[in-house]
């Protein structure tokens, strides 16, 4: 990443987010969807880790759960309660999909924190697919369940009549902006945190080149530690937020009345 040039350090904080072929290390073109890349590798590791946790965790089905079973049960119960609280009892039919989303995001985020690892969720291409899946699915569900009554979501009947057309425009805009904010929130948070750590990491070896490094290097190492701790929090919170927003959108589709 940081290589020595004539005058100092040349680095680019976006370097770790480059997608390249796993075997040749070359950047890939858009049509080479069959080439395994670093992002597909880490997605596969994430999926394997989830499968391992869930299969091993539920293998013995002990009444007094062991460590792995406790984690599996805790994750299951946590999301189950969230779906029930936010989307309501009839939202529980869609619990497997939401639980899958949560586990994939949380595992991608946490595996991406391993130094040298790649975070698939730091790419808008990955999160946009998940957000568009939620958006299209929820919209189709709303129309299937309620037909044209689903459009009542945009017609705020609690507001005064004169205000309703203006509110309808705002509601339509905010509805169609959902997948944008849903996907970029996750990708932006993951990418920005890692990029900040990269910037500090680029300052860290300054002690080798300049006297200023005596001050800058310890500060930047401390900053990396602090950012890393924050990133552990952010990795969980962003998965939580993505999941809870999915539940909120699901609730809007199941009960569109304001």
């Amino acid at each position: 990443m940081a290589e020595e040039a004539g005058t100092g350090l040349v680095f680019h904080p976006m370097e770790p987010f480059k997608i390249h072929s796993l075997f040749s290390g070359e950047p890939i073109s858009w049509y080479e969807f069959f080439v395994p890349t670093n992002t597909t590798l880490w997605m596969a590791i994430g999926v394997l880790a989830i499968a391992l946790l869930m299969v091993v965790g539920t293998l013995r089905r002990a009444i007094v759960p062991g460590r792995v079973q406790s984690v599996a049960e805790l994750a299951y119960g946590f999301i189950h309660k969230m779906v029930e609280d936010v989307a309501g009892k009839d939202g529980l039919v869609y619990f497997p999909y939401i639980f899958t989303l949560f586990l994939f995001i949380v595992f991608s985020n946490f595996l991406g924190l391993i130094p040298g690892a790649f975070t698939p969720t730091s790419h808008i291409a990955v999160t946009a697919v998940m957000a568009m899946g939620v958006f299209v699915g929820v919209t189709a569900l709303g129309f299937m369940k309620h037909g044209s009554h689903f459009l009542g979501l945009f017609w705020v009947s609690a507001a005064p009549l004169a205000l309703r057309p203006i509110l309808a425009v705002i509601e339509v805009i905010s509805y169609f902006v959902r997948p944008v904010s849903h996907s970029i929130r996750l990708a932006g948070n993951m990418m920005a945190g890692h990029a900040v750590m990269e910037v500090f990491a680029a300052f860290a070896p300054l002690i080798l080149f300049s006297f200023v490094g005596v001050i800058v290097t310890p500060l930047s190492v401390l900053a990396i530690v602090a950012m890393y701790a924050l990133e552990i929090l952010v990795a969980f919170v962003q998965a939580y937020v993505f999941t809870i927003l999915t539940c909120v959108y699901l609730k809007d589709a199941l009960h569109p009345g304001h």
């Binding site: 944008v180 904010s181 970029i184 929130r185 920005a192 927003l245």
Partner: protein, 78 residues
């Protein structure tokens, strides 16, 4: 000196767009601050409203994300 004035404008615009994130910071701080002050008045009701707080944070943060999006578009798409 390389590049042209359009690129310079795009970079300045991207930097200016980042000021929108300050607004998102104020918004998120407001949401959490009010949640804490409410939670300290009635701690027994706090746990049931944590999810609501996170939804509020997410909506407040969305506007900051749009400024980030504008910055990204100016940097890489224009």
């Amino acid at each position: 000196m390389e590049g042209d004035i359009v690129q310079m404008g795009a970079y300045i615009g991207a930097g200016l767009a980042c000021t929108g994130m300050g607004g998102a910071a104020v918004g998120v701080g407001h949401v959490v601050g009010n949640f804490i002050s409410g939670a300290l008045r009635n701690p027994s009701a706090a746990a049931s409203q944590t999810a609501t707080m996170f939804i509020g944070i997410a909506f407040a943060e969305a506007l900051g994300i749009f400024s980030f999006l504008v910055a990204l578009l100016l940097m890489f798409a224009v």
